[in-house]
Symmetry: C2
Subunit: 233 residues, 2 copies
Amino acid sequence: MKTIDVCLSPELLHLYDLEDRTIVVVDILRATSCMVTAFAHGVESITPIANLEECLRMKAKGYVTSGERDGKKVDGFDKGNSPFEYMDGDLRGLKLAFTTTNGTLAIEKSKGAKEVIIGSFLNLSSVVRYLLLGENNILIVCAGWKGRVNLEDTLFAGAVVEKLKDYLGWDCDAPLAAQHLYNLAKGDMVKFLDSSSHVKRLSRLNISKDIEFCVTPDQYKVIPRLKNGVLLA
Amino acid sequence: MKTIDVCLSPELLHLYDLEDRTIVVVDILRATSCMVTAFAHGVESITPIANLEECLRMKAKGYVTSGERDGKKVDGFDKGNSPFEYMDGDLRGLKLAFTTTNGTLAIEKSKGAKEVIIGSFLNLSSVVRYLLLGENNILIVCAGWKGRVNLEDTLFAGAVVEKLKDYLGWDCDAPLAAQHLYNLAKGDMVKFLDSSSHVKRLSRLNISKDIEFCVTPDQYKVIPRLKNGVLLA
C-alpha cells in the first residue's frame, strides 16, 4: 500500500526519506494559492526564489517579480501575494520570479524529492486525484510560519488525508492530527481560522477577502510541477 | 500577559527563545509518566541520560538503571519503561539513571531554559497550578517519536492550554491545534489514541494497561524539577 505522511514544518523535512516521494508543498496563506491562481490564468512559468535580492535581479532578465515579506508586498516588486493580483489576463505567457517568507523556502527544501507539486484548496480535488493515480509515496510539506506549525497548511494536509484515507496507509501521527483538525474545521474553515496566528497577522493587513478565497476548494484544475527548479503547469 | 507556546517536536526547539521560560517536558508514553510515578513512590533523584552505554556505566556507581529503546526494556537494565515498575516501595531513597528513545533527549535539549519540569497526565493539575502561579513564560516541549510529532504528547499540551486559556496568551498556532485535539479526545482518550502510531507500536508489546494508566489525570501531585542536570522532586 502506498503511504502518505505529513511534514508539519520544513524544519522537520530531514526526518523523511524524500527520494521515493511525490511532495506536495502547501502555503495556503498565500504563496501556493497565488501560484495556482497564476497558472490558472495563463502564466508560463514561476521560478521560486528564496532570496529577496536575487528575485529583484530577475527583473532585468524580463521576469515579473512577485511575492512578500512578512505578509507585505516588497518595494519595487511588480506583484504582491494576493491571489486577486494574479487573475487578470495581463500575466498570460509571462515568467514570474516569486519569493515569499515561507512558501518558496519549503519548495527549495523539497528539491530532493522524486517529484514536487504545488497544492492549495483552490486545486484540492485535482491534487487528490493526481496523488491517488500516481505510483509514488506521498509527503505533504506544510510551509508553516518561520519554521513553526500553522493551522491553515495543516488543514489542507488533513483534507488530503481525509479524501485518501481509504486508499493509503501511514505510520506516524501527523496525518491523523491533521485529519482530525480538518474534520473539525471543514464546516466553516474561515471561522475556524479566525483565532489562528497567521489570520490575526493578516487581518491587520485587511485581507479577509483573500483568506476566504484561499480556503475555497476546487476553483482551478491546474497542478504546478517543479522541473529543474522552475514551476510549470 | 504571560505566554504559553507548544513545541511539537524537540527538532523545532531552536525556533524558541528558552531563557525566560519554564519548560514542561512531556513524553506520555511512557518516560515522563514513569518519572512522575517513581518520584511519587519515593525515588530520591533521576538522572536523565541520552546515551545507552553511559546509562549502563552508572550501575557501577550505585544507580538503578532504567528505560527503554524502541519501547522495549534494555538487556542488563534494572527497570523498563512501564509506570507499574515504579510503584513498589523498593525504589524509595534510590537514585535512577534513566534513558529512553525520546524523553531523555527532549530533556537534554531543554537545558537552556530558565527552569525545566516534568509533566504527564498523572500530575496534570499540579503542573497547571504551578505554571499559573509562576512568573515565567511557558513552553510545553513534546518529546514526540524520533523527532516526529505524536498525538499523546500533543494532547497533554492541549490539556494544559485548555486549562490555562483564560490566563495566558499565545502567538503561534501549535497551542491552538493542541487544544482543539485535546477537546476532541478528552471524552475517551484511550479510544482517541487507538489509531495513533505509537499506541499501535506499543500494542504490539501488549501494554494496554500502561496506556490506560498514562492518560489518567491527577494520580500524583509531585512535580519533578531539573537541577544541575538531575531531576529532583
